[in-house]
């Protein structure tokens, strides 16, 4: 005869596990906002990542070199965390398996493909259009999750996911400057902007599939390190060549930033925040499913407001929040509440 008291305790234990997953999801959004603020508003404005006389392709290469270094540091921090928790041997064990190789495929979609498409798209097609297209990734990921992973998502959660997506778009929206005739590669840029939308959505779905068996902490450690290596060895020289800057232009920026010290140090700090954020995101993907974890991830748009304010305070500069940002933040908050409203739904993630 089953023991009713033990049954009840088990239910509480499982509900607690689901709630922890939701907590990791929210933590991932917050730390991603911090990472974005540190990387894009501080480190990447430092020479040699960015310089006044840089042309279009050098600006792109500077951002890519920064993104590459970010993934490298994030991978390093995660390796240290995994060593401390007694799991360093799991890297090689996991890479020998098919789900482990799937994690590398996910890394390819999210890191080099997604990130390069995102940064090049912004440069070629204005942030307005590129960000609008790439911001659709949570909704896209949730749809792929339902079809590929058979995730169960009730209508209320759908509304929440879509609200978070719209809110992130509103916070990130920038009015267009001038006509598109100033951008000779506008349509190429639009096409490239679909890479991050699909890349990040596919990363979520493929890695979640792999993480049915792979420990999320190991999966994200592999993801960041693999992404770093592909960016360094393939993406940086290829984009340098495409932009006509010569093979080594991206590497020169990368090496210059390491030699300069301070910019690399800030990327290392951003990489710590980014690594923890990704760790939390991968745990949330595993514990709460793709649809919910994606919605939490875009709450970074909300968190970038308080972190931007703190950074401005620390630097003694003025920080202003636009009305649209506040409207976006309210929509994201509402969406998040809809997503987390009933943790009991998480007791069975799939159909």
């Amino acid at each position: 005869m089953p023991n009713p008291a033990a049954q009840k305790a088990l239910e509480a234990h499982q509900l607690n596990y689901a709630k922890k997953g939701l907590g990791w999801g929210i933590f991932s959004g917050a730390t991603w906002g911090l990472q974005g603020t540190l990387l894009y508003y501080l480190a990447l404005y430092m020479a040699p990542f960015w310089m006044e006389d840089y042309g279009l392709w050098l600006v792109v290469l500077g951002s890519l070199a920064g993104a590459c270094m970010h993934d490298g540091f994030a991978g390093l921090w995660l390796a240290i965390i995994n060593a401390f928790t007694g799991r360093w041997k799991e890297y090689v064990r996991t890479l020998r398996t098919r789900p482990g190789k799937l994690v590398c495929l996910a890394a390819l979609c999210g890191g080099p493909v997604g990130m390069a498409g995102y940064l090049v798209g912004i440069s070629l097609a204005t942030p307005t259009y590129a960000l609008a297209i790439s911001a659709t990734y949570p909704a896209l990921g949730a749809i792929l999750g339902v079809f590929i992973l058979k995730e169960r998502i009730v209508p209320r959660v759908w509304v929440g996911i879509i609200a978070c997506t719209i809110g992130a778009f509103i916070v990130g929206y920038m009015p267009p400057e001038g006509g598109i005739e100033q951008y000779p590669y506008f349509y190429l840029g639009i096409a490239l902007s679909f890479l991050p939308a699909f890349g990040w959505a596919l990363e979520g779905v493929i890695s979640t599939y792999g993480m049915d068996m792979v420990d999320p902490d190991i999966a994200i450690g592999i993801r960041e390190t693999f992404s770093f290596l592909v960016m360094l060895i393939i993406v940086l020289p290829v984009i340098s060549m495409i932009g006509g800057e010569g093979l080594a232009a991206g590497w020169k920026i990368f090496g210059g930033a390491l030699a300069a010290g301070t910019p690399a140090m800030w990327v290392a700090v951003a990489g710590l925040s980014g690594g923890l954020s990704y760790l939390a995101w991968y745990r949330a993907l595993n514990m709460t499913g793709v649809g919910r974890a994606m919605a939490f991830n875009v709450t970074y748009a909300l968190w970038s407001i308080p972190f931007g304010w703190l950074l401005a305070m620390a630097q003694g500069t003025e920080f202003t929040v636009t009305t649209t940002a506040i409207i976006g933040a309210v929509i994201i908050t509402t969406g998040t509440i809809l997503v987390v409203a009933n943790p009991k739904e998480l007791l069975k993630l799939r159909n």
């Binding site: 089953p2 023991n3 008291a5 033990a6 049954q7 305790a9 088990l10 234990h13 499982q14 596990y17 689901a18 997953g21 401390f84 928790t85 007694g86 799991r87 041997k89 799991e90 064990r93 996991t94 020998r96 398996t97 098919r98 789900p99 482990g100 993480m211 049915d212 068996m213 792979v214 420990d215 999320p216 190991i218 595993n286 514990m287 998480l346 069975k348 993630l349 799939r350």
Partner: protein, 94 residues
């Protein structure tokens, strides 16, 4: 030649496929020789691996009761879905 060790979570699923039901205590006893030197080889981490495999539907609870210390002791068994995923194990483990 000795088999390459699986990642612990994969090994737990493989173990589940060989037993009718099992608890974390069985895992800590039977896998000690293979994973005993891993820092992760403890009750907390093993429980986490089991919770995760259960949440994604690879294993399910067969029975639950309290042990003599009044702590929850869950008997798990593999599901059809989990059995299907055994195909992802390297050939030497099939």
């Amino acid at each position: 030649m000795a088999k390459n060790l699986l990642p612990l979570r994969f090994r737990v699923l493989h173990y589940a496929s060989q037993k009718d039901t099992f608890t974390y205590l069985d895992l800590l006893r039977d896998l000690k020789e293979e994973y005993g030197n891993d820092g992760q080889f403890n009750k907390g981490m093993m429980t986490l691996h089991l919770d995760s495999l259960r949440a994604v539907g690879m294993i399910e609870e067969a029975d639950v009761d309290f042990d003599k210390n009044q702590e929850l002791l869950v008997q798990y068994r593999i599901t059809d879905y989990g059995r299907g995923r055994l195909s992802y194990l390297p050939d030497e483990w099939k």
